[in-house]
Symmetry: C2
Subunit: 279 residues, 2 copies
């Protein structure tokens, strides 16, 4: 039993600043943190990088790039440039992966196939740029509830179809239990993913589905997901990286950050850690 | 331009009794209705069947059977018997298909694969019973948002894997735009379905996703779904049956039923009917 692969994704404790989150991880004995660009920008990239380096924490991922499904050429160019900046930041922060949230349909646009094609093209344009910076793109397939307005890549199968067009060290996938637990054939897709798994994120699917779809995730163990089976599949696929707890939940944000981290560490030790292969 | 394949699913006008819905269809020139078991039970099966026969309306489907994912043997036997009654009613009402909503995970159960296996077994036990009554089971793949609490069959691909184990006249699938619009490879799956398509239902995916996930469907044309492309695929697969408008939406239930039917008929003529192959 050990926390040595547990990472706190910053959005789980949105009530904390970056400084507080770093200190919170250290206090709780967590070895890693997944950072978001916005709180990094608040203190400045150099300061954030220095704090993280001095903390000794691993930066398990940077959230997030993507949002590159715009139909307008100017919007696509802008998105590409923004993703280059995100890749620079990912490298500067010493993180192995930039999580990509593809984006949804442009306003008034109903061409889902077109948006999916543009996502593939955008990944292709960024892959070499990631490799040149020594970091990896992590395509995040998102639950189909977000297909219209946030992420047009809806299954791990689809994310792998995209990723496999590129070298494995340039383009991987993010495997998130909340997004993927329902996918028919998920065990096969996780095995297929193998070394493409760039990040493993955990949170739970709770019912009744909360009123705000963007804040609908539950604490690990509070919902319907079988973390033992899912985690064992990820481990069997060869994943040996950090496990990020990423929970968007307004109720958790209203609690003391320290209490949230204590709870998630306990749940991790009970429900996830026993099913991770030894390093 | 014609309404001759448009069917009003009763849940779209839940403010109406069965009698009102029948009269509403006749007033608006709709040739068909999709009925629910509860409003049928309110007036009694014989009365409902007589009203429908006398009305000259086609009964495009009966909603609904299913809910057969219980883990407990007694619960499974009870579900089987309830589905037999639903099949009897479907035959008595002269409908070609009983729509099956598979059901979710039993309380406290996280074994999604197990629930899916039980759904397959339940369909197998009902298929011959349906055939013996001259009606068809229509497996309804449901949006993954409902996988935990309502429908463990989440994609058309998965529904077809289930259905194809049985004769085509015993087990078909229900193709509903709301549930399936996001599915990667949906055009291929619709073509694969071919004569398995037992019902085509339309409603829209709207954002932001409404607070109550069970009442989240939008009027055709109000959301993100490309009905032209989807409908053309269903037509190309050979479907020549009725098109049911099925919208669960509390705001529509607060309006006059007549107004709702007028709106949906107009939207159907604009967005769906032009893409149906001629009979």
């Amino acid at each position: 039993m050990s926390l040595d692969r547990l990472s706190l994704n910053q959005r789980t404790t949105a009530q904390w600043s970056l400084r507080e989150a770093i200190d919170g991880c250290l206090d709780a004995g967590l070895p890693a943190i997944g950072v978001w660009r916005e709180p990094v920008a608040e203190v400045g990239l150099d300061t954030a990088a220095a704090w993280l380096r001095d903390s000794g924490l691993r930066v398990s991922s940077v959230c997030r790039g993507g949002f590159f499904t715009g139909a307008d050429p100017a919007a696509r160019r802008e998105a590409h440039d923004e993703n280059l900046r995100a890749l620079d930041e990912t490298a500067a922060l010493g993180a192995p992966v930039l999580v990509l949230v593809p984006g949804g349909l442009p306003d008034g646009d109903r061409d889902l196939a077109g948006a999916r094609s543009r996502a593939a093209e955008a990944v292709a344009a960024l892959a070499v740029e990631a490799g040149a910076r020594g970091v990896r793109l992590g395509i995040e397939p998102m639950h189909p509830i977000y297909a219209a307005d946030r992420g047009v890549v809806s299954t791990l199968a689809q994310a792998l179809d995209l990723a496999e067009a590129h070298p494995v060290d340039e383009v991987g996938v993010v495997v998130d239990t909340f997004h993927l637990w329902w996918e028919p054939g998920i065990a096969y897709q996780i095995a297929r993913a193998g070394p493409r798994i760039a990040s493993y994120q955990v949170s739970d699917w709770i019912t009744p589905f909360p009123p705000d779809a963007l804040l609908a995730r539950g604490m690990v163990g509070d919902g319907h997901i079988d973390f033992a089976t899912f985690t064992a599949a990820v481990a069997a696929a060869g994943y040996r990286g950090d496990v990020e707890v990423e929970i968007f939940n307004a109720e958790l944000w209203g609690r003391a950050g320290k209490e949230v981290v204590e709870t998630l560490a306990r749940r991790y030790l009970d429900l996830v850690e026993p099913f991770l292969a030894p390093l």
